[in-house]
Symmetry: C2
Subunit: 150 residues, 2 copies
Amino acid sequence: MRAISIGQLAKAAGVGVETVRFYERKGLLDAPPRKESGYRQYDADAVERLKFIRRAQLVGFTLKEIQDLLALRDDPDARRADVRERAAAKVADIDAKVRDLLAMRASLTTLLATCEGDGPASDCPIITAFRDEGRNEHTERSCEHGEGED
Amino acid sequence: MRAISIGQLAKAAGVGVETVRFYERKGLLDAPPRKESGYRQYDADAVERLKFIRRAQLVGFTLKEIQDLLALRDDPDARRADVRERAAAKVADIDAKVRDLLAMRASLTTLLATCEGDGPASDCPIITAFRDEGRNEHTERSCEHGEGED
DNA sequence: TTACACCCCGTACCTCGGTACGGAGTCAAG
DNA sequence: CTTGACTCCGTACCGAGGTACGGGGTGTAA
């Protein structure tokens, strides 16, 4: 099953055919080889790449940033200082995102735990693991409805 | 120093004045009280809310989703089943994002670790590290979000 | 060979999340 | 009082990230 069509690729990655062509135009996907007819021929690797793009989008990276990430991943000479620097910067970006997500998660699980009245569901290890490296204070609200901006 | 102007609010949260008004129109920020002159008067709480919106955006939530998150946070009766359900669903969303981010992070740090010195770039396992993270649908909503060995 | 789904390309169009006017009133300093 | 920064509101416009034609060619199974 080497060489799949654009339709099969799109389906495998859960996107539309038009989107695949759009990504190609934007440079996120390389132009694949073509059949005599002009039909694009993809391999399984393209599926992974496409899935990666979608996941990266879900966590807030722009297509431009995703291009950078893919470039890092594909760079044939990863020892170059600038590549390492960009990779390190991306790691920092990711850490910031994870911190923010975990802060949000903590708020929500606190909400759930408190309002379920059912015991400490907030002993989730990942929360405690990351919690105290967070620098930003966060408005943790409980069930008490002391709300209302006024 | 209660009651800050829209300009001070915007500056405090690192956004533009127009953006604040835009969020108000969209329902992400409540319409604040006004002075006689019609000038909006915000309090410190609004700063937090605005910062939260920005952080949520950075990790890929849409304004609509952020509205939901804020609604959960502000809900005066968090014991209602549907509220808890939506909160749990958001936690699941967050977990999925965190998983994806940690997978990306792992790939990048592997790149950094491996390619730091003087090994040939072709040995860099980042390419293989990316390639098969089994993409399961995210249906779980508990604290166990086994990152797995990836 | 005819039918029907799939692919080609280009262009137009759409939503989301803002940004930028522009003409008016407000407020604090000088 | 004047000046300049800030605010009001409405409307127009913008870039990102797609989505939808439309008119053609292709591939395959009955």
